[in-house]
Structure formats: structure tokens, C-alpha cells
């Protein structure tokens, strides 16, 4: 078969396309950090202990990068709703990459903000994203203290406890 220059060119382009779709030379896996159980449990148990020391009966959730539950703790005599509430706060902080209290403001500014209608999202203060640099790798949510600000303060002590590990 005699190959005309045009044919060669077409073949070359086709080959180039196929090759780039199949295995691009620049393809790389994601290199990133994720929460370990040890770190997650340290954050959660510290947040729970802080609230307990103040007399608050709380539940605490830690979710990972995909919103999956890594650790869930129900404090002695915490009200039933606090368990789900702490999970939803944590999920909200993780997926929107901001403290869940920020979503309260967003809803105030824009009552049409549809994010709050998604499953597991809740516009209530008490959860903080867990970050490594700018990368949100999870979140901690607390529920049961008399006020979302107090829930959030307990969550913060958990994050402070492992600050040196979050890098």
C-alpha cells in the first residue's frame, strides 16, 4: 500500500488523538492527604470533652473528604437529635468548605439559596472544615450546647489539639 502524504497526516493525527485519550503522558494520580482515624478521633474526643467540661451534653461527628462518617460520638444524655444534627453540620461544613455558620449568613442574604435543600445540609452553626493548607479534607460538627457558637467553640478546641498534624 502506498501511503500518500495526506493519508500519513490523517493517520498521525488519529494516532495522536487516540494516544492522548488513552494514556496521556501527563496523567497523574492525586497526591493528597486524608484524615486518619487517630487524628479524627482526637479531634472528636477533644471537642466532646471540652463541651462536657462546660456542662454541655453533645454529640460530635467527623466526616472525611467525601463526607463519609469517620467518627461519631454521642455524649452521655445528649438529646436524640444532636447525633444527626452534628453529622449534618459537619457534612455542610465539608461540602461548602466553610464553617456551617457561614451558611446561616448565606441563607439570610439569599433566602433562595438552594443548597440547604440538599440531603444532609443544614444551615446551623457548630461545624468547622478541617483543612490542610487550602485543601478541605473533612469537617467536625458538634450539637447539643446552648448555642451554635458554643458548639463551634468546642469543635475549635478539637482542631487546635491536632493543629500540628494538619499540614
Amino acid at each position: 500500500m502506498s501511503a500518500s502524504p495526506a493519508r500519513i497526516a490523517v493517520s498521525a493525527i488519529a494516532l495522536g488523538l487516540a494516544a492522548s485519550l488513552a494514556t496521556p503522558a501527563h496523567a497523574e494520580l492525586l497526591a493528597r492527604k486524608d484524615l486518619s482515624l487517630d487524628t479524627a478521633l482526637m479531634i472528636a474526643s477533644t471537642a466532646a470533652a471540652t463541651c462536657k467540661a462546660q456542662g454541655y451534653k453533645v454529640s460530635v461527628h467527623i466526616v472525611g473528604r467525601t463526607g463519609e462518617v469517620l467518627v461519631a460520638l454521642r455524649g452521655d444524655n445528649a438529646s436524640p437529635h444532636t447525633f444527626e444534627n452534628s453529622m449534618r453540620k459537619a457534612y455542610t461544613a465539608r461540602t461548602f468548605r466553610v464553617p456551617s455558620g457561614e451558611i446561616v449568613k448565606r441563607v439570610k442574604e439569599n433566602p433562595q439559596f438552594a443548597g440547604v435543600f440538599l440531603t444532609n445540609v443544614i444551615a446551623t452553626q457548630g461545624a468547622l472544615p478541617i483543612t490542610v493548607g487550602d485543601d478541605v479534607i473533612g469537617a467536625v460538627g458538634v450539637s447539643g450546647a446552648p448555642g451554635g457558637d458554643k458548639d463551634e467553640a468546642c469543635a475549635k478546641t478539637g482542631l487546635d489539639k491536632v493543629a500540628d498534624q494538619l499540614k
Partner: protein, 164 residues
């Protein structure tokens, strides 16, 4: 007052009184699972499986079937958390290991029907937690190739002194 009327009055009073406000009414006095004990069980079970080389999820549920502690080990499969919860719930509500429940499913059609209730599952790895004969909690674990229950029992052994 004629004797008949008096007798009827007494009879009526005797019927109504125990229904209205029985003098012997009492609250239930019993022990319940606490957060520190639940956490010790879960961590003990997870560590035991980790030592064997298996990353697992563990769930401890209370008397009402509500989660008290849930832990997901580094590298545990996505399904293991739900599986652990369902094993724990099955052990708690049927007051038997989930392995015994699974065996009963083979011969007992009622057990097979019960397995269709939400949250129930017939897979070994769930163990009821007892104080005497009172089942106060359930522990479920998932993620090992066949030693889920031994790992749970290692966790329970850590708090044996407190379960009374």
C-alpha cells in the same frame, strides 16, 4: 348504705384504682451503656482487628438501637460502616449474636422475614452487650475475613469489669 351498694362501690374502686394511679407504679431502674465504655469497646475491637492486619469499622448502639460510637479505620471499605451498624442493631434487638441470627435464618422463615426489617442483617460480627441477662447495647464490626466477632469480643473483654 346497703351492703350491696357498698360491695359494688368497693368493687368499682378496686377496678379503677390500679388503672388510675397504681400505688406500686415505679420507674424502670436499669443500667445503660455510657459513652466512655462504648468508646473503650469500639477502640479495643478496632485495635484487635488492626493488629491482625484488618482495617474495619465498628459501631456500638444503645438500648434503643441508636449509635453511641462509630469508628472507621484507615483503609476500611465503604460498606463496612453500614454493615457494622446493622450487625450491632441486629444483635441488640434480637438479643443474640448476628451469627446466631444468620443460622436461624436457614431454618426459620420468621427470621428470614425479620431480616427484611430496616437495619437488620444476618451476617456474623454483631454481639449483644449484657449486664446479667439484660441486653443494654450491641456491638457490630465489619471488614475482616471471618474474625469480626473475635475482634468484637476482644473489645468487650476490655470492659468486662464494668459490665455489671
Amino acid at each position: 348504705m346497703p351492703a350491696k351498694k357498698l360491695a359494688f362501690g368497693l368493687f368499682t374502686a378496686a377496678l379503677i384504682l390500679p388503672l388510675a394511679a397504681p400505688a406500686h407504679a415505679q420507674l424502670i431502674e436499669r443500667k445503660d451503656m455510657s459513652y466512655p465504655v462504648a468508646l473503650a469497646i469500639a477502640q479495643g475491637a478496632l485495635e484487635d482487628c488492626k493488629t491482625r492486619g484488618y482495617p474495619v469499622s465498628v459501631v456500638v448502639v444503645d438500648r434503643a438501637g441508636a449509635n453511641i460510637v462509630t469508628l472507621r479505620a484507615d483503609g476500611a471499605g465503604p460498606h463496612t460502616m453500614e454493615n457494622a451498624r446493622r450487625k450491632a442493631y441486629t444483635a441488640l434487638t434480637f438479643k443474640m449474636t448476628s451469627e446466631d441470627f444468620a443460622k436461624a435464618m436457614e431454618s426459620n422463615p420468621v427470621r428470614r422475614q425479620q431480616a427484611t426489617l430496616p437495619g437488620v442483617i444476618g451476617i456474623p460480627g454483631g454481639v449483644p452487650v449484657k449486664v446479667g441477662n439484660d441486653v443494654i447495647a450491641g456491638v457490630g464490626l465489619s471488614g475482616s475475613p471471618g474474625v469480626d466477632e473475635p475482634c468484637v469480643r476482644a473489645g468487650l473483654a476490655k470492659v468486662a469489669d464494668q459490665l455489671k
